[in-house]
Structures are given as C-alpha cells and as structure tokens.
Symmetry: D2
Subunit: 361 residues, 4 copies
C-alpha cells in the first residue's frame, strides 16, 4: 500500500504531473517470457486518449509510450518495465487563474493543505492525465492474464447523468465515444453532452467492469480480499465516489434466500456475489460498478477562496472533460486487470503445491 | 497490503478461527506513551459482542481481551501490542452438516477452491467472529486519535432491509440494539426482525460512519488515497458489497455546479465530497456508507452442491445473525479509525517539516 | 519487511517482552496442507532454550509453545498461524538496578532515546528471549522447505572468543553445549567459559550457517537480493555485528581469477560465492558467517550514566548468557530458513510459468 | 522493500539494463519543500561515473540525469521524483561472446536459472551501471538529511587487495581516483592496478562509510533494525560479500568489558557499537565496513559451461572495472543516506509526539 504504487507482487509505480516533462510507470514483478511491444500498450492508451471526440477534452496528446527497460528481443525478462510518456501539449497559460485559487470540488485545495506546495499547471499530479500510466500498466496485465489464464476484462458505461443505458450487446461498446453497450441511446447521449458543454457544466457517470474466466481461489480472506483490493484500486481512481461488487447496494434490501447464489453441479444460478465470496473468487464473472462524480473544472462561476483565505469566484476555462466518466472505462478495466494479476501471482506463491496451472486439471 | 495485516505504519495483524483456541491481533507501530488498559479495549468489544439482544446470534462469548505485550505501567511503549481473546463457546457440533456441503452465498466454497483445505467449524476464518480483533485494534486507534487530534468517529444504521431509518439524533444510537439514530422506527425494526427470524431468513443493511475533526492533508494522491484505503478497509469487512464516500452513487446524476462543494472563508457550504478531494482530507467530516448483504447461513433450504460436486439441499441451523449489519456499526468505526490513524502517521513522516502538530497553529 | 515483521510472503510478526505475560509470533502466508504440530516447533525451541548447561543463562523457561490458529486436524490451512509462549520465570527484581541506568553496550539507552519510555524488566523487548518466536517460526519454514524442496539448514560455532574451532564433522554439533563441530576442542571451550564466568565477563563468537539443496533462481536482483535479505535477517539478530556470504571479507584480497568459482558440466569447482551470484541462488550451498558481540550485561563494573545524565557505575547481576553466541546457532538457522522460504514463494509467484516444481524436471 | 524498491517511506524504485535505452529511478515519499535541481544530483553521479581514470572502465557515459517529475519551481512537491539517465555508449558487440556462456563468478548464470531468459548485453540488469540510479536517489537523501538534520555521510577505501590503506585525513579522499584517505599510499595503489590490468585480472577492496550527526532513536528494534537495514542495503550492492557495523568481526574475540562502549555525561568513550545499539541509533557516528569481491569479467581464461551445459573457456574482453571497489564509495554513501532518511521518516511518524524536531530541544 505504498503511496504511488499499486500491487504487491505485480507492482505499478506511477509518476508525473500533467504539465511536467513526462509521465510514466515502472512495473515490477512481471513474469518473464511474455511477448510485449510498445504497440501492445499503445492500443490501450489510444482508447483512453484525449481529443478523440467533441465530448472529451480537446487537449491533443499522442500519449506515445516508450519501453525503457525490462523487455529484450520482444519478451519481458522479469526485470522492471519502465514506461515513458512525454507530455507534448501542455499549455500552462490556460491555467494561470488557478494558481492562487481553489476550484470547488477539486483536489488543489487538499494538495495545498497536505504539502504546503503544489504544481498547479493543469492540475499537476491530480490531473486525470495521470491515469495514462495506469492504463499502460494495465495493458500488460490484461495481455498476460489473457494469454496464460484466458481472462477477459471489459467495461462499459451504464449511466450518464440521468440517462440509464440498458445493456444490449458488448459489440456496441467500441462503436461510440461513450463506451455505451447500446446503439439506440447514443443520439440521446450526444444531445445531452452537447447541451451540457454549452452550459459550461459537467456531469457524473456510472461504469461497469466485468472480468470473465477468472480462476477460483484468488483473494486473501481477511483485509486483503479480492473485493477489498478492487475497491481500493477503483476508489483510487480520480472522481470515483462509490464502488459496488455484484449486487452492491441492492444487497441492503435483499433477503438471504434471494441474495445467496444457488449452486448446481454445473455452476451458479445467479451472480449477486459478483464472483467473490468471503473475499475469494469463485470462478464466476467478477462484476464491479463505479460511481464517477462530475468534473470539478467547469466554466460556470462558483464561490471559493484563494490561498489567502479571501472569498473569490472561480471559473475554469482551459480544456476539460465535461464528463470524466466517458474516458473512465479503459482505466477501470486496467485497474481490474492489475488487481487480478497481482492476486493471481500471490495465489501461485502460497498455493502452488495444490492449485493447478492452466491446462493441468 | 499483506494478507491479514491492515495498515502500513499502524499495522493490525489479525489471526484466528471461529472455533479454534483463540482469536487476536498484533498491533505494530502504535506511538509510545498512550495510556492504555484492557478496559479501554473491552468497552468497544462489548459493543460488538454477540448475544446482547434477541436480534443477533445467541452465541455467548465474553470476548475478554488480554494485553500480552507493548504496554508497561499502563502506557504503550511503542513495541507491538498483542491482544488475545480466547474462544469459549465453540459448539462445533452445530456445524456438522456444513463440513462437506457449501452454503449458497457463503465463503466456504471459495476457501475450499483456494486452499484445498478448510476449517469448517463455525465458518472457520470466514466467521464474522474475526471482526473482534479488528474492533480491539480500532479501540486503540480511536483513543489515540481522540486524545492527540480530537478526532471523533461514530456510526449508525441508516437502513435495514426495506426500512429506511431517517437520522434524528446521535443520542438514540446507543439506546437500541440496531444502532439506529431514530427512536421512532425501533418498534418497526423489532417487528421486522422478529418476523424474519421466524421465517429463518436473513436481511441486508446500510451503515453510515462519520469521522469528525480529521486534520486536512491526510491521504496520498495516487493509488493510496484516503478514500481508496477506506474503501479497501470497508470492502474487506465480511458481507460488505458496496462503499460510498460522500455523495457516492448520487454523484452519477449530479452536475458539477451542484456536486462541487462551494468554499467560503469560514468553510465548505456542503459536503458532497465526504471530506476527501483528490484522495486527501479537506478538514470536513469524512462520511462513508456501506452496503451489507444478508447473512448466507439461513434456516431456509437452498440448492447447492457437496465437495464431490453432487447436488444437495443446504439448511444452516446453528446460531447465526439474521442481519450481520446489526453488529457492523462498531466494526466499521474501528476500520475507519485504523485507516485514519495510519494515514496520519504517514503524513507526519513525510510532511512534518511544515505540517503542524496539534496546538501549534 | 515492516518493523516487527520478517518476510514478504512468508511473514513472521514477532511480539512480546522478556518479563511481560507472553511472547509469540503470527506467521502469515504459510502454504496450506503442511502437517504441523506443536511438537514440530517445540523441538527447535528446545535447542535454543536457556538453562540447558552451566554456560548459558540459568533462567528456567520451558518455552512451551501453543498453536492458537491456522492448523486444523494437524495440517496448516493457509490462514495465519499464531504461536504463543507464556513467560513463566520472570524475576523482575533481579533487574531493579537497571531501571534508571544504562548498561554500556546495551540497547536500553537507545530505546530510551527512541521511545521516551521503556520496559526495563529483563531488557524488555531487547532481550535475547525475543528470539524464541523467531525460532518457532523458523521451525515451520525448515519443515516446509525440507518436505517440499529437500532443503537442509544447519549451523555451528566456528570460533569462541580467541578459540578457533576447526570443522571436523556435523555429527559433533549436537553433542556439546556449544554447537561445536569438533569434539576435541570442547574441553578447551568448557575451561574458557568457566574462567570467564568467574571473572564476570562475557565474550563474542562466530557462527556459520549452511543451507543445502536450495533451488537455483531464488532472490531478486536489485535491492531484494537473496544475500541482502540474509544479511538483513542476520544483522537483525541481537548482538550480530557482521555478516559474510561465502568468502566474505577474504574477497577483499582475492583476485578475480581465484574468487570466481569455475563451472564444469557437473557443477561448480569451489564456492567462494557462498551459493549466490548477482543476488540469486545458483544451486550451490548457501554459506553465511556471523560475528556475535559479547553480552553487554556483565558483573564487571563499567562507567555509565543514569537517565538524569549523571555518571554512575553499572554492574549487572541477574541471570545472563556470558556468550550469547552459544545459543545463536538454532536462531541463525531459523532466520535463514525464513528468508529462503520467503524468496522461494516469491519465485513461484513470478516464475511459475517456466520454473519447475520439485520432481518435474 | 519490494524487489527493485529500497526503503519503506522514502522509496527508491530502480529500473533499467546496461545496454537498454535508459536507466533510472522513481523516488516516492520525499518530503515537500526541498530545493532540488538536476545539478544537485549530477555532482554525485559524476563521482561514480566511469571513464574518469585509467583504473576504471573506459566506457564513456555522461550519465546526464533528467528530472521528469516531483519538482516544481526548484522545490520538491512531495510527489514521486522520476530520474532518467539515457544510455549513450552501449557497444553491445563487445559482449557477443557472453550470450551463450557463463562467466565464473558472474550473475549471468543465476539470472538464466531464475528467469529462463536474460538480456546479456553488458550484463543487462546485473551490470554495476545500475548503481547510478541508486546514487542519484542517494543525492536527494544526502541533501535532505544535511539540510534538515545536519547529517554528514562520507566514505573511503581502506584496503585494495593486499594493500591496507591507513586513514590519514578525509581531505585526501577526493584527491585520488581510489577514494583513499591517505596521500602516501596512492603511488603503490597506482602501480598495483597498472600491473593487474596488464595481467587481465581483477581484485577486491574494502570500503568504509561513516554517517555523522545522526539523531539518536532511529531504527526499529526487532527485524527492521537500523543495522539490519544498512546490511540489507549494502549486501544488495553488486559484488559485496560482507558487511560490518562498528567493531564487526573483531567483536568475536572481544570481551564484554572491552566491547561495551563506556558512557559519560559528555558522551561515549569509544564506538565499538558503530553508532547502533539494539538496532537503534545512539547519536554516535554510524560506521559501516564493506567487503567487495573482485570483478568477475576478466581477460584471463576460465573454465565454464555454455547454456547447453557443455564445457567452454570463457575470456571477457569488453570494458570492465578491474576493481569495482574503486567506484563503490559514492554508492555506499548513497545507500547509507537512503536507509537513514527512510528510518528518520518512520521515527517521525511513530514518535513525533515526544521526539523533537531539529532545533527544538
């Protein structure tokens, strides 16, 4: 649980500021022998990249990743993998007005109280830009999990502000800028976002992430449970205010006779558990749901204070996502991949004497 | 993020099984000089103890704590504090029928897949009984936080199954067996639980926990955020399926102009953030909400399988809480105390050069 | 590798004070399915126990271990193993004179500077008594390593003060109170110790520990090397002032053409490396050497100060080992076992895709 | 203390290979507000740099460091500091002959056994080149310790092969390529190295490191002792085979009446303890001694095997240090600085309630 490191055996250390020279991650503990190229990582970074539709920030960042270490002749060597992403489109002048004032709902006030100093350019380290190294690291976890254990991780947006998005099919998800699993609702989402942008306001969203083919037996029963570590990773993502596993808050009004998933010789009959019982995976799909708050950087004027404690009105111009939830899906997938891979390595360590490798049972 | 250890600098290592000789915790990293007696811990254990009303398990456990180390002449010495609680009322025969079958919704299936072996007596390590050492450790964190920083942590039940419990006053909380902050709703809760017990079913609940006077500046911005560590601790508690900070899932449909808490020279005008921005405390109350699923051990027969994979009907007799949420409040308070104390120690380490001690500013 | 915890995946958390109610350890991360009884642990504790010859402290402690958790029907379950050892022969009055004064060479001064408070009874937490929980934990690691990987760990004394003890045979080691691998030198050791005891002085010693059949490939190359973690564990043992791997300080005057162990198709021709190259095991024996300083608690009067900073003469009566090195051999073996087991689990986690289980290659 | 990370609160994560695109480190946990520039780091890197005399490797690496994050307007912000050093002089052809054979005494055999794959170019990750990021990180620790607590850390060579180097004065150390604290012995060292280079052989060395003004009270008493963590860091340095604190192996033949440093109202009368008692600093100088083995890459032919297990003769041409000990002094200083700073932050966390800040007592 080190500050800027996620994971215990598959460890992702994240660094960088929005408008500094570069951002990046060092991934320690990756198994050797995995085929890995920059292209494998770039494809996930491109899914998260800004500037890809009119509904997200217009900052133009190629987010080109460079592998600095840990890969030799196209394969991981087991040593740390250092990933570097240079910042190229950092217009710090856009942010001049936030140096001495605090945006309501933004981290800048909290950073100032914590460190007594902060890099205000583009939100510094609190910028959503810092999710790019997480996505890059997650691309490695996703690839290893898929190749070695057949695990498949994907997500979608299930609600944008007041608009609930019914699940139709996974195939829609990559065909619209919202990661919506429903083709019919897209025009409504477009119209909503266009109106919102005109008003200079922002909106929240709800994201679902699902992991399939996760082996049973992953997770450690007290404290370091699989669900606890998923909640840790997800709540550690910018703007997330709530996390659910399986039935989530619906469990509050469920009875035991309804909630407990019946088991048959061919499997479970439902998945209120979200794939996890007692903190340990059961072999069912892991299902996670996230609440993402609206962006705090908005054009609408809000009452606040400056660093002297005096009242001010704050209006954030610059380039911002009116709904950070739109780009959150690939990030949440990455976080889930990192957590599952980390727990899987831990399971191999402790239980390899009886827990089988893929294909052995 | 070690398996059975919570915290990084204030570290709680939990051990034990429901029907083994004892359960307990070792707390490492407690500051020296804190006045501490067994009575200080017992008072919190008594709040969580089974057998205190007809609505909870009738197991009779005194949960008498013994301090084995780390305290000399009534004060902590800075060395590990070992807390021992002997199990006294362990009727393993009650659980004979669960040795070879799996309860739907229960951890026993997952344990069996993970370890290939499990202690089935009373749920073994997955028993809610193992929250007692957490509560004991939390008592120490609560006391230190209160004495050194004036932090006050308390919780209540806000919903039991379908019954929403409107907040009236903190003073009601300790006057009913449900930790309900509302005197009027208690008869309805009693009636609901009595009916449920007759049916042999169980029900979920929603718990709120609030920490007041938490200093601003606690939490580490990427990954090890304060909200992430709270989510980790809470989701690591038996039966929790969802965690919210501040506005939680309501944020999904909020606009930025509504969600972002306006700041004035005298403080914040609202607390949708739940006391945390960018993963760091702001000095507002920390507000956390938990969804607790219904107990999986119920008298109603459910379809399941045995360890041979054959279909069986499972009915759990024994002594069980029909709503584990009822005893969850003191546990959630303890978890929040441990997380805050741990982050506070980390903040002192990194930022002591400018961050002030209590009373210095 | 937190304060009082040794190991990363096989984690030993040590607690207790010399004259408190009890000492013990919680071992987290032990693989499930290992046959384990209290007798398996007791046999190692008995090797370290005080009062077994006239050359060690006359404190009479049975050091009876109780397993409180983590074992069910004679097998480990994968959950934390809590080991409890009650203190029974704690004559605190013997130590009355050290409450306000500091023994030269003893930890009590340092504790006082660190914590501002200390438990002076019997040296409190700095007592060599706290090596008992380490030995108990090491017994588990030794047993698992032996059963699963055929690893054999044993040690001996190679020097006692000025007397160098030439290695004759392992079979002598258990036949004298010094762990000397040489029958002929025992009378000289006895005479030396008898004279020393009369003078009220103490003496240092040198201990060798050897691990055989350690699989190649254990250790992580930068920082967390196998040799680094061995040095950490050994230097963390009371009274150790030096650690060598393989040729150790002799390497200083060796040439590369001499030091580098030649390799042939049937193995290495020498073992200056001590079984470790680049921080990773090679499959050769791991060879470690320790320097143990003389006990600081002696009957001879020494100049010191009291807690007020005033000059005093300090003489330590009570019951003390005149040579802590005599009982150090089983402790050093235990530490080596814990480190190897921990690294072996880490190797399984990261490299299980190609690194074979015993018997598979 | 994960694989490639040193430190618990001041955490240095090291990455890179000798002939990959770059090497570097991410430093997490540095206190905010420290004035820091690339020049502050470069000065230490230049002390370690190759190619500065005829006695070290002729590889020409400017080792130019770039700060990628964590510094704003010349001050640390408390967020991770990413340091990048590009590799520029990587002549991989020099190493063609080591791809399929193992150098006696070199890590390449162990890497191959561990990972089943390795980057052989220039020794890959096992190259001494990877000490550069450690030195860069140590420069930050040194600067902070000096400015906030007045700690001064420096080292010297006390023996080169058979030549013991008597300490004359610190001022000589920077005036010769050996870090020898003695002007008179330099010609002898030069002649010895010139002869050795002609023979194509290599030699060991002994290095001393001293830290002055270290506050009393640093270190955690069981396992994570100050001496244990120093030993861990030093033994984790390439080619180190032995570590001593204070009297080290001389303690073996010392009596307690001699070894225990007498205390007077004005301080200690000797320093056999090397500044550490019971794992905790006493306020005396910390004194550490290292044994460094001779380089394994030598021109003299040695018997070995290839990856097929067949016998071969290995001769290493390329550019190598004939005595890695020559450049070890700044690295050992850096490691000591990192360990002390890390422990100091931990002490502030746990004991800030009574342990004073500089200038407060």
């Amino acid at each position: 649980m080190a500050a800027n490191t996620l994971g215990k055996l598959f460890r992702v250390t994240n660094y960088g500021e929005s408008h500094g020279p570069a951002i990046g991650a060092v991934i320690d503990g990756c198994p050797p022998g995995l085929a890995l190229s920059e292209a494998d990582i770039q494809v996930e970074l491109d899914r998260r990249r800004p500037g890809t539709s009119r509904h997200v920030t217009q900052r133009q960042e190629p987010d080109q990743v460079e592998i600095l270490s840990g890969v030799y002749q196209g394969k991981t060597t087991g040593t740390p993998i250092s990933l570097l992403i240079r910042n190229t489109d950092a217009r710090s002048k856009d942010y001049g007005n936030i140096v001495d004032t605090f945006r309501p709902g933004h981290a800048d006030y909290a950073y100032w109280r914590k460190y007594g100093i902060r890099d205000p350019r583009g939100g510094g380290r609190s910028s959503a830009r810092l999710t790019a190294p997480t996505v890059a690291a997650g691309a490695i976890a996703k690839k290893w999990l898929a190749e070695k254990y057949g695990v498949k991780i994907r997500g979608y947006m299930s609600q944008l502000g007041p608009i609930v998005i019914p699940f139709q099919s996974w195939e829609h998800v990559s065909n619209n800028p919202f990661y919506a699993p429903n083709a019919d609702v897209v025009p409504e989402l477009e119209a909503y976002m266009d109106a919102l942008r005109k008003e200079g306001d922002s909106i929240g969203a709800r994201i679902e992430v699902v992991a399939e083919n996760v082996p049973a037996g992953l997770g450690e029963p007290i404290y370091a449970r699989m669900d606890a570590e998923i909640a840790y990773a997800m709540m550690g993502l910018n703007a997330v205010k709530g996390v659910e596993i399986g039935a989530g808050f619906e469990s509050v009004s469920q009875r035991g006779s309804e909630h407990g998933d019946a088991i048959t010789p061919t499997g479970f009959e439902s998945n209120h558990a979200g794939g996890i019982l007692g903190g340990i995976t059961t072999g069912q799909h892991i299902e996670v749901s996230l609440a993402i708050k609206p962006t705090s950087s908005i054009r609408i004027k809000r009452p606040s204070i400056n660093t002297e404690g005096e009242p001010v009105e704050v209006q954030t111009l610059g380039r911002h996502d009116p709904c950070v939830g739109i780009r959150a899906t690939p990030i949440a997938e990455s976080l889930l991949a990192i957590v599952i891979m980390d727990q899987l390595l831990r399971q191999r360590a402790q239980c390899a004497d009886h827990w089988l490798r893929p294909g052995e049972n």
